[in-house]
Amino acid sequence: MSGKHLNLKLKIWRQSGPQTAGSFVDYQIEVSPDDSFLEMLDELNNKLESEGKEPIAFESDCREGICGTCGLVINGQPHGPIPKIATCQLHMRNFNNGDTIWIEPFRAKAFPVLKDLIVDRSGFDAIMNAGGFISVNTGGVPDANEILIPKEIASASMDAAACIGCGACVAACKNASAMLFVSAKVSQFALLPQGKPERFRRVEKMVKVMDDLGFGSCTNTYACEAECPKGISVTNIARMNREYFLAKVKSKELEV
């Protein structure tokens, strides 16, 4: 499998804490084209550690593109140049010998940098806590097959539910808007019969928290969809807008 090694120049954002200023630091590295991008950083960190230097802080977990933990901006693109994959699935064979690679954290006011390439995405959890659920307690629910759901609806709901909550949509958007993330959750539930009873309350609450947290507005540039590792469609944003208008007009609750 393995071809020739690649010699690369890395320019990596280093920032010791949320309050301090950061800057790019240069590193030189030789890697196998079969390595993943994060394995390259592992190797660099291992080298730094062996020299007694502080390794570059970055997050990752499953390394299969599903947990949503990893997320680097590589040459200006969240999750790098290959569409529909997370950073952990990016492999070095997509780069050329001699390339210079710029590696930055996700940038948004609502995602403050904690250290180096790690950002705080807890805003997403706050949005979920506000309404990203169907209010059912454990037990006492009907038999699963009592709720008939057309295959096409289940499938559309699944398309939306595939979101991994990585935050690349926010990172890609020039407005740092979280609409793709929020709309994916709103859509998943709004489509399903189980989600209908509280559809208005849900969208109103989630949007309210999203706005309060300082995420920007959507200006329909669709950068989010282009960079989303799961290819979540902006039709979800359209659906959320619809749900929101309907909620505002029809819902009998005066305050969210």
Binding site: K11, F24, V73, N75, G76, Q77, P81, W102, E104, R107, A108, K109, A110, A172, C173, K174, N175, A176, S177, M179, V207, K208, M210, D211, G214, F215, G216, S217, C218, T219, N220, T221, Y222, A223, A226, E227, V234, T235, I237, A238, R239, M240, N241, R242, E243, Y244, F245, K248, L254, E255, V256
Partner: protein, 223 residues
């Protein structure tokens, strides 16, 4: 009505205002362009058209006020959105990859919009102001047409006009389909059609409006 101001003040609400006012302006531009085509019918046709509008002046005034409000809302909201969105993303990336994930039209709305706004002020100060408030145009039968010819034959004005309406086309190209998306009318069956329709509309508007100064600057034999 606290709920309404809250709704319209939300991130989605502000977009709704943009889209709603935008659609209003899109419709207005169609009427404007159709009316302008009377210019190609010569002085009589054009002046006749303006006279017709004069007859229903009270109605036109009401529409103008409405249109003015739509413009103001569109512009005020647009600037507000831009400013807030800038704050939401205070730092940019070192390497820009915007051309890889967005279209030129979508990411330059504030720039194209600003230039169109400057153009609008100039446009109002010239044609609209002169038509309405300069002396006694009603008595001078061919004054409207003459004013148009006069201005369009000033090269800097004509060139700026052409550039501005091309940028307006850029603005409309994104704005048209964007409004549909904002209203939630995005369906994979018909949205591609809306996007194409928007482009066709934008091209027609840009070429249509640009044709007047080009015609009067280069092809009008009247002088």
């Amino acid at each position: 009505m606290g709920w309404l101001s809250e709704a319209l003040g939300s991130s989605i609400g502000k977009k709704f205002v943009m889209g709603f006012t935008g659609i209003g302006l899109i419709l207005f531009l169609i009427f404007h362009l159709v009316g302008n085509f009377t210019l190609y019918g010569g002085p009589e046709a054009f002046n006749g058209y303006v006279h017709t509008l004069d007859i229903v002046k009270p109605i036109i005034r009401v529409i103008e006020v409405g249109l003015g409000l739509v413009f103001i809302f569109h512009i005020y909201n647009g600037i507000k959105l831009w400013w807030e969105n800038k704050k939401a993303r205070p730092n940019d990336y070192k390497i820009s990859a915007k051309s890889k994930n967005t279209t030129f039209f979508s990411r330059t709305m504030i720039q194209t919009g600003s230039i169109v706004f400057i153009f609008l002020v100039l446009h109002l100060a010239t044609f609209w102001w002169l038509f309405n408030f300069s002396g006694e145009p009603h008595e001078k039968g061919d004054a409207y047409y003459a004013i148009v010819v006069e201005w369009f034959q000033i090269p800097w004005y004509a060139i700026f006009y052409v550039i501005a309406v091309i940028l307006l086309g850029f603005h409309l190209n994104h704005g048209f389909q964007s409004a549909f998306q904002t209203f939630g009318w995005n369906h994979k069956k018909y949205f591609p059609f809306i996007q194409k329709l928007g482009t066709v509309y934008a091209v027609i508007m840009a070429l249509g409006f640009a044709s007047f100064p080009i015609y009067f600057l280069f092809f009008y034999g009247g002088n």
